[in-house]
Amino acid sequence: MSAPALSAIVTFHGEGILAHTALRSYALSRDTARREGVEVQLVLVLDRADPQTRQFVMGHPDLDGSETIVETQVGDLALARNAGVAASRADYICTLDGDDLISTGYFLMHLKEAARMDGRFVLHPEMVLSFGMYSAYNWQVDQAGDYYDERALLTVNPWISAAFSTRELYETIPYVACYPRKTGFGYEDWYWNSETIARGVVHRLAWGSAYFYRRKWHGSLNEASHALKTVIPRTSLFALGRARTGGSSRA
């Protein structure tokens, strides 16, 4: 088997049987990549996973032994992802949640777009289809496009958590644990997006890829962050005294 071009980190905690569906989707996209001669390493991070979730992941019929299983007890999504980064072998890394789905060409489209990129970048899927509690579709925001405005990040996180970049970037700017119940800080993705932008990283889109985002009725991390009224920690993006020219900066 060839060296992986991409390591896809999937984090699990308490997804239960929904982990089964997510892994089917991720394995299907891996098969699509393999047919094009591209190997994808699935890095499955079980962070304090409940027995049911662990069972659905470990016994999944689509696993072929090439996957890397990482078991952690950090109890935090950001730290679990960082553990996944440490176990990744490819030069490119993407993050996925343990209960969502992706388009079949997801990995290929991201790699194709990455090959066209210069400088430091993060890719997000072009489209998000939310299903479950909400039924909606949206195009994500291209930082190089006219619609993007940095000032909006004060009140909105323009991107979902699924991200793709180089291993170097994930190692240089790791996710940060927020411990929302203890600190009142949260939204680690929003925070990571803000920090990467402040450091000159550009968030672009992998055109032709879609993320199928399960909107849970109860129990999602976003819901928890919202209920706790958490805010992102102090970020370089909104540093007082940081030079701002009209408040907006684009790639």
Binding site: T21, R24, S25, L28, L101, S103, T104, M127, L129, S130, F131, M133, Y134, S135, A136, Y137, N138, W139, V141, Y147, Y148, D149, E150, R151, A152, L153, L154, T155, V156, P158, V176, A177, C178, Y179, K182, T183, G184, F185, Y191, E195, G208, A210, F212, R214, L228, K229, T230, V231, P233, R234, T235, S236, F238, A239, L240, G241, R242, R244, G247, S248
Partner: protein, 482 residues
């Protein structure tokens, strides 16, 4: 039109989604089920971009493994277009404020409504002066959050920077203002944040108190309750204290009465409150000074804001009972509605003169006044009484709020609506110059004993971490890069 109703907005909850499904079912009955969705690149009748075909195909492929994607009886039309909102106004306001505030850290942040003539405003300046006096290198940021001028900002010490928060966020709704305030305070990480009568400030603590306490100690000043038309207590203590107190290092109050009331009525721990009496900032006459009133003094002075709180109806009733005494009434008239009738009653009395606004109490107090009359329904500590005491006028006031901290109960009217008692007391003061002298003496002693600047700063110094802020100790968890 139907799409506008069902697709234009994010379908936020199960009820609106069910309504939308019912509407679509009805639409399908009328025009045929499963009408094909528009092609990629096209737009829906609502003007929203249609779901691209490639996404529809992907969904069809994945629907076999995920039953919730296209449940039986539904099609792609169940999905509404959504666009990520790029609201720039809050970020724009934030950028303006960030530029005004600058990158240098502040030791203290005072979040206040405005700085203009008023007792609380006087107190805010006292606090700023005490901080600056204790540490000349202190850096104080004063954020005014109500859209109103702050002429007293010029009275702040040179260590203070006033930034007009309200002006920068004027175009934002309240929730957005709170978001901007939260971001500012989190970015500032000032070791001390002091909140005084700012609703945006209180709401920020309510929503994000836990995050704020990671790097800042939060203090609040509340002076008293207000009361609505039914005389139910209202105000910041009632709105916020129950839920915000866990985040507050202390609640500073200028009187001893209200901490007891809030502890008793709301259950807020008594230990949270610290009484810091406001000082008198004028010159004290010699302690042996006699009353200002001349031997034949036959007038009463009343000075204050003519509003519902200060009970002009009581003033009118008292004046009506004392036709041989003239009442000089000073103060801005801020009455409206039924309460304005009380002013009408006052105007109709021949022994009452409404003089309008005044600047300094000393300039309106005269030898012809045998007493200063203070009528009120509720109070914190009315600092005008300090000015009256220093002007050597005998005070006739009710035992309300923080007045009891300043004057002995025996020198006060025990029931604030007891017109007979007011009249009796005023007659006694009119008739007995010796009584006036004794009372003035006690008033001056109280000023000298309890209202010195040194006492005020000592009380703040005793407040852990106020004058010399310490890092918050609520957690040892450092979150973030910055």
């Amino acid at each position: 039109m139907l799409d506008r109703l069902t697709h234009n907005r994010w379908v936020r909850n199960r009820y609106t989604r069910r309504l939308a499904q019912l509407a679509r079912r009805f639409f399908s009955l009328l025009f045929g089920a499963h009408a094909p969705r528009a092609d990629a690149g096209s737009v829906l009748p609502s003007g929203a971009p249609a779901m691209p075909l490639w996404l529809q195909e992907e969904m069809t492929r994945l629907a076999a493994m995920e039953p919730e994607l296209l449940p039986p009886g539904t099609d792609f039309n169940r999905y509404a277009f959504y666009s990520v909102p790029m609201h720039v106004a809050p970020g724009e306001a934030y950028a303006e404020l960030a530029n005004a505030i600058g990158g240098e850290p502040y030791s203290h942040v005072l979040v206040i409504p405005w700085l203009k003539q008023g007792g609380a405003d006087r107190g805010i300046i006292y606090h700023a002066n005490a901080i600056a006096e204790h540490d000349p290198s202190a850096r104080i940021l004063v954020l005014t959050t109500e859209h109103s001028s702050s002429p007293w900002a010029s009275r702040l010490p040179r260590q203070a920077t006033h930034v007009d928060f309200a002006h920068a966020v004027a175009s934002l709704d309240f929730n957005q203002q709170v978001a901007v305030m939260a971001r500012l305070l989190i970015q500032l990480r000032s070791p001390l944040v002091h909140l005084v009568n700012s609703r945006v400030g209180w709401e920020t603590v309510l929503r994000h108190g836990l995050a704020l306490t990671q790097h800042s100690r939060l203090y609040a000043s509340i002076f008293c309750d207000d009361y609505d038309e039914r005389m139910n207590p209202v105000g910041y203590a009632r709105d916020y204290l129950r839920y915000c107190y866990p985040y507050l290092s202390a609640v500073i109050c200028d009187n001893s009465r209200y901490p007891q009331i809030w502890s008793r009525e709301l259950g807020v721990p008594a230990a949270l409150f610290t009484v810091v009496p406001f000082p008198y900032d004028g010159q004290l006459p010699g302690r042996s000074a006699a009353a200002l009133s001349g031997v034949g003094a036959d007038r009463v002075l009343w000075a204050g804001r003519l509003d519902r709180q200060k009970r002009p109806d009581l003033l009118a009733a008292i004046a009506a009972r004392m036709p041989r005494v003239h009442f000089d009434v000073y103060g801005a008239q801020v009455m409206s509605g039924a309460a304005a009738q009380d002013l009408g009653a006052l105007r109709s009395l021949p022994n009452v003169t409404l003089h309008g606004e005044f600047q300094r109490l000393e300039s309106v107090a005269s030898e012809r006044h045998f007493a200063y009359l203070h009528t009120t329904a509720w109070e914190g500590t009315p600092t005008i009484l300090f000015d009256v005491a220093a002007a050597r006028l005998p005070i006739c006031a009710p035992a309300v709020g923080g007045i009891v901290d300043f004057l002995a109960a025996a020198d006060l009217i025990s029931e604030p609506e007891d017109i007979d008692a007011f009249v009796q007391r005023l007659e006694q003061l009119r008739a007995a110059p010796a009584l006036r002298d004794q009372l003035v003496q006690r008033q001056l002693e109280s000023l000298a004993r309890n209202r010195q600047w040194s006492g005020f700063t000592a009380a703040l110094q005793a407040l852990d971490g106020y004058l010399v802020p310490k890092k918050s100790t609520s957690t040892d968890q450092v979150v973030g890069y910055a």
